[in-house]
Symmetry: C2
Subunit: 266 residues, 2 copies
Amino acid sequence: MKKRDTKRSNLPKNHPRYESLKYRHEIIEGMHNLVVAEAGLIAHGRGECFDYILGEKTNEVAEKAIKAAVAALLLAEKPVISVNGNTAALVPRELVKLSKVVNALLEINLFYKKKGRVKAIKKVLEKAGATDIRGTSKKEMVEIEGLESNRRFCDSIIDADLIMVPLEDGDRTEALKKIDKKVITVDLNPVSRTSIWADITIVDNIIRAIPKMILIAEELKEFTQEQLTQIVAEFNNKKNIQDALELIKNYIEQQKKDAFKILNNH
Amino acid sequence: MKKRDTKRSNLPKNHPRYESLKYRHEIIEGMHNLVVAEAGLIAHGRGECFDYILGEKTNEVAEKAIKAAVAALLLAEKPVISVNGNTAALVPRELVKLSKVVNALLEINLFYKKKGRVKAIKKVLEKAGATDIRGTSKKEMVEIEGLESNRRFCDSIIDADLIMVPLEDGDRTEALKKIDKKVITVDLNPVSRTSIWADITIVDNIIRAIPKMILIAEELKEFTQEQLTQIVAEFNNKKNIQDALELIKNYIEQQKKDAFKILNNH
């Protein structure tokens, strides 16, 4: 086992960046345990920055997308939630819980191959309560057309009508749309190729979005098919993404006014 | 040696994200060689995101700050360039060249302690042509007041009149300002505490900013003290940071218009 650079135990809970540093620790631990790819640390950093310029909270724009996404998951006949290393490291229990509430399968799908990674992620999901985990046996997988990366290997995804792909790469989202799958994503970059290609894009941090989805799912489970269908029909993904960009602009404008205030306190 | 997740040799030069992926590779290699801390990968990802919303080029706002920074370095009596793991991994030759052109000392200063890291960074800098590297022997160091992290240990920095701290943490920048040092930084986050506290903040990617600084230094070396003093006096860091924020707002506004064009080509 490698020596750690950071120690979570050293971090006081009242530290202004406690939450952010806690999840940074989970990602680094995930790398030590093979769950997270090395490039996954860099991807996590990109997410941190986008979260920062979105104000680090689930805004009303994200809430709209979350509601539409949950309605779509409840309406789907064969929904699948795709799990990669970062999502498994950050929100394993929440992923399992969501999959149960909306009755979706969990399938491991990775960009970076490495001996032992699938097994390590499977273990994390099992520890979090998952009992049926797909994408673990290459023999049972088929390849998606038009995709060269390791992500082309699919198990239950190939038969799904709706796939939720949090923290996804653009190539696979595009490939999934081209074989007519409905796609939901959680992506902090509102204009990533995944965000643009997806049917429903939740521009939010996965650590807040998934728990919120579970809460909303408990509520929407009481709704009729018609009510759920209406929620999905009324959702406009393009407008929602543009609204998220508008929020970023407002945040930056606010920073122009506020950023120098810290100097006045000294 | 650990097995690598990514192979640089696989990357075609015409890949749309070749540059970005090349430097991502350098950072991951740096971690394998102890030069880069694990948290340095996450920091690199944050930088990637800010660079992205700045359009991934050195804009006119950054150029103004670069010119003022170089003038200040040439005017300084005892300038020091502080080197951390990420800068050593990304631009070792450029750091050494800049230190020679503006006659500044190089001093290794790290947030994350780990056995062998200082030695690994020293080796990288020596390979890049450095002959006088400070901050390598703890016996010769003194502590900066008001700072708890490992960054408090200083060698030549304590006697410097001007310190360039690229990719710095806010605590040390604040501590350096409180002992009346002039501070230059290169930071892609225009409103990080380092950016706000510094006297001159270059909001740019270090892989572009340092080579640009070397070019400008060759030019400004011919200037008189008066001319250099005027360049520094005319520079307004607060306004420059606000101009950088305005550029980000413009970029986001452009994305609102352009982001969905990729769907039309399919």
